[in-house]
């Protein structure tokens, strides 16, 4: 199958970036302009894990989990601040060519243990008893709770999302409880990583929202510094989403960015606004604030909450 490997080596390198402190803007520029690189939507679609910038010690376990979710063959590359993007781009391309030609894959970083022991437990060895009991195949089943919109007692799914989730600002970890695709509870576990001021540039902020609206091409175009070519950009953002006094709503902020202005207002405790929102609305809301603004607002809210306790 060497012809298949030769063919594959010529393809764009599929990369999942895990973005650390200070590298958000640079990673975005890299994927918008460097040739031969493709930003994968999830690690399953990637062969290379790009670790950009410094990853704080708290985020290391998450990085290990992410690493192990890349299918074989896989390889990790670190991109430290200061290395020019042409150089990292060349390294990434070379690593992909190696992998395509059969270079060895990296082993798992975490031990091969299920989240809970289950083998041999229960009447059929599936790890559980009865209809809902035990930990069938290693995990318990979700249990019911009342919904905040219509009160139906359906299951609540609790998970921690982030810090390297593609739809959240890098570094932000949320503990979310979902009913269907609506968030019924949200807590901030870790703040977004600090980013340099250039990450707050209007064009980059607008591009992040465009990506969430499915306009990959237009977002790349904005990142490269041109006006986007797309229809229904404003209209696609629901009116009134993420409205704060003095900060307008998400649509206003996108408008401001599209016309090259920095948005002015800051939200108060944005995480509190998440419950009650559908998933897409929630991601749009978080993306409708510049990373720096969002980080400050989340940090302030955390300080506030710690005092009365």
């Amino acid at each position: 199958m060497s012809w298949l490997r030769t063919l594959a080596a010529g393809a764009a390198a599929p990369i999942y970036p895990s973005i650390g402190a200070g590298m958000l803007a640079e990673v975005e520029q890299l994927f918008a302009s460097a040739p031969g690189l493709r930003r994968a939507a999830s690690p399953r679609d990637a062969a290379l894990l790009l670790v950009a910038g410094d990853i704080p010690a708290e985020a290391r376990p998450a990085l290990d989990r992410l690493h192990d979710q890349l299918p074989h063959p896989r390889r990790t590359l670190a991109w430290k601040a200061g290395e020019p993007s042409t150089q990292i781009s060349a390294r990434l391309n070379e690593a992909w060519r190696d992998l395509a030609h059969g270079a060895p894959s990296e082993p798992d970083r975490l031990p091969d243990e299920p989240p809970n022991p289950w083998r041999g437990i229960g009447p059929h060895g599936q790890g559980g008893k009865g209809m809902m009991g035990g930990t069938p195949r290693g995990r318990p089943m979700a249990m019911t709770g009342a919904d905040i919109r219509d009160g139906l007692e359906l299951d609540r799914y609790t998970a921690r999302v982030g810090p390297f989730a593609p739809m959240l600002p890098p570094g932000l970890t949320l503990e979310l409880t979902l009913q269907g695709d609506v968030i019924v509870e949200a807590h901030v576990l870790s703040l977004p990583f600090p980013q340099p001021e250039e990450a707050d540039l209007p064009a980059l902020c607008a591009a992040r929202m465009l990506r969430l609206l499915g306009l990959e091409g237009a977002a790349d175009r904005m990142t490269r510094g041109h006006a986007p070519r797309a229809a229904w950009i404003r209209g696609a953002v629901p009116a009134g989403l993420g409205a704060w006094p003095g900060a307008g709503d998400a649509r206003d902020r996108l408008d401001a960015w599209l016309s090259g202005r920095q948005e002015g207002g800051a939200p108060r405790d944005p995480a509190r606004a998440l419950p009650g929102l559908e998933w897409h609305e929630a991601t749009l809301l978080l993306a409708s604030f510049a990373p720096g603004t969002l980080r400050r607002a989340l940090a302030e809210a955390q300080d506030l909450q710690e005092i009365p306790a």
């Binding site: 063919l7 399953r44 695709d181 091409g217 696609a236 897409h280």
Partner: protein, 301 residues
């Protein structure tokens, strides 16, 4: 004869899949990005095929394996009812547009299964979102195809093509193609109607897919693009009708045109939130297709 025709459909499908993938790689040029050469789709597929397919935690293994197969098969079945030349289709169904409608309904199920089977949160959200949008999108599709059946006095696609000898349905029923494009974007999981995917859910139903599974899914999406475009070409652009060139060539050209249109629309229109899109579908697009049917009825009388 039938076997030859079936082989022809298969070859056309394969070529169409490659063309669709290439269109996808050409489109960035419109936005000042890089256009890729004709080999690019093959390279991308090879890159998928040399990688492993990751198993998920306690998946519905059978459905995960077969969802791409059903998607692909439905595209091929849908394509089989499209007349390739005047009066000639692989499947001479007297109810061609109902067959296509069934394929649409089953495609929604297939996408749902694809998102359900890995037992992971983002694919699951994608699956349910898509079901919520995919179901009501079928209504405009039915209205549009029924409107096309009025002047033909038949549900057969051969008769519908035949009824366009004097003027194409594109002229008689100008709203038809734009409305049907909405259906096409939904069935091929593209752009403003790609509610099965999206960055906000890390690729949605495909978020846990890798290797050959992802390859098959992408190929099936493109196959559906080909089938949809061929059907749209037959219903609105007169299919194989045309001067000088033989019928199949005309059909191929018109199919390629509709494919390009769909790719463009998918790239240039923003995707709103699912709740809002549901509202748009029922409150705007459904009455619009109602009106479309009424006007087409008047014109046909």
């Amino acid at each position: 004869m039938s076997v030859l025709l079936a082989a022809g459909v298969l070859v056309a499908l394969a070529l169409g899949i490659w063309l669709g993938a290439w269109f996808d790689r050409l489109a960035p040029a419109l936005e000042g990005g890089r256009a890729a050469g004709p080999m690019a789709p093959l390279r991308d597929w090879a890159a998928l095929l040399i990688r492993d397919q990751a198993e998920t935690e306690a998946p519905d293994r059978m459905n995960r394996l077969l969802a791409p197969a059903w998607y692909l098969a439905l595209a091929a079945i849908g394509l089989s009812v499209v007349p390739v030349a005047e009066g000639l289709a692989l499947w001479h169904s007297p109810v061609g547009i109902v067959v296509w409608g069934s394929c649409e309904a089953l495609i929604v199920i297939t996408v749902f299964l694809h998102g359900w089977s890995p037992n992971a949160p983002f694919p699951l959200i994608g699956a349910y979102r898509y079901a919520a949008i995919g179901l009501p999108v079928m209504l405009p599709s039915m209205f549009v195809l029924i409107a096309a059946a009025l002047p033909a006095e038949s549900l057969s696609l051969i008769a519908i093509v035949d009824s366009q000898r004097d003027s194409w349905n594109l002229v008689r029923q100008p709203l038809g193609l734009p409305l049907f494009l909405v259906v096409g974007l939904t069935l091929t999981l593209r752009g403003p109607l790609d509610f099965a995917g999206g960055v906000d859910i890390a690729g949605g139903t495909s978020a846990e897919e890798s290797g050959a599974g992802l390859f098959l899914w992408q190929v099936a999406r493109l196959a559906t693009l080909v089938a949809f475009s061929a059907l749209a070409a037959a219903v609105f652009l007169g299919g194989p009708l045309g001067p000088l060139l033989p019928g199949p060539v005309w059909l191929a050209l018109k199919t390629a045109l509709v494919m390009a249109l769909t790719v463009l629309a998918g790239r240039l229109i923003a995707r709103t939130t699912p709740s809002r899109m549901l509202h748009v579908l029922w409150v705007w697009l459904l009455p619009l297709s109602f009106a479309h049917l009424a006007v087409s009825g008047m014109v046909a009388l």
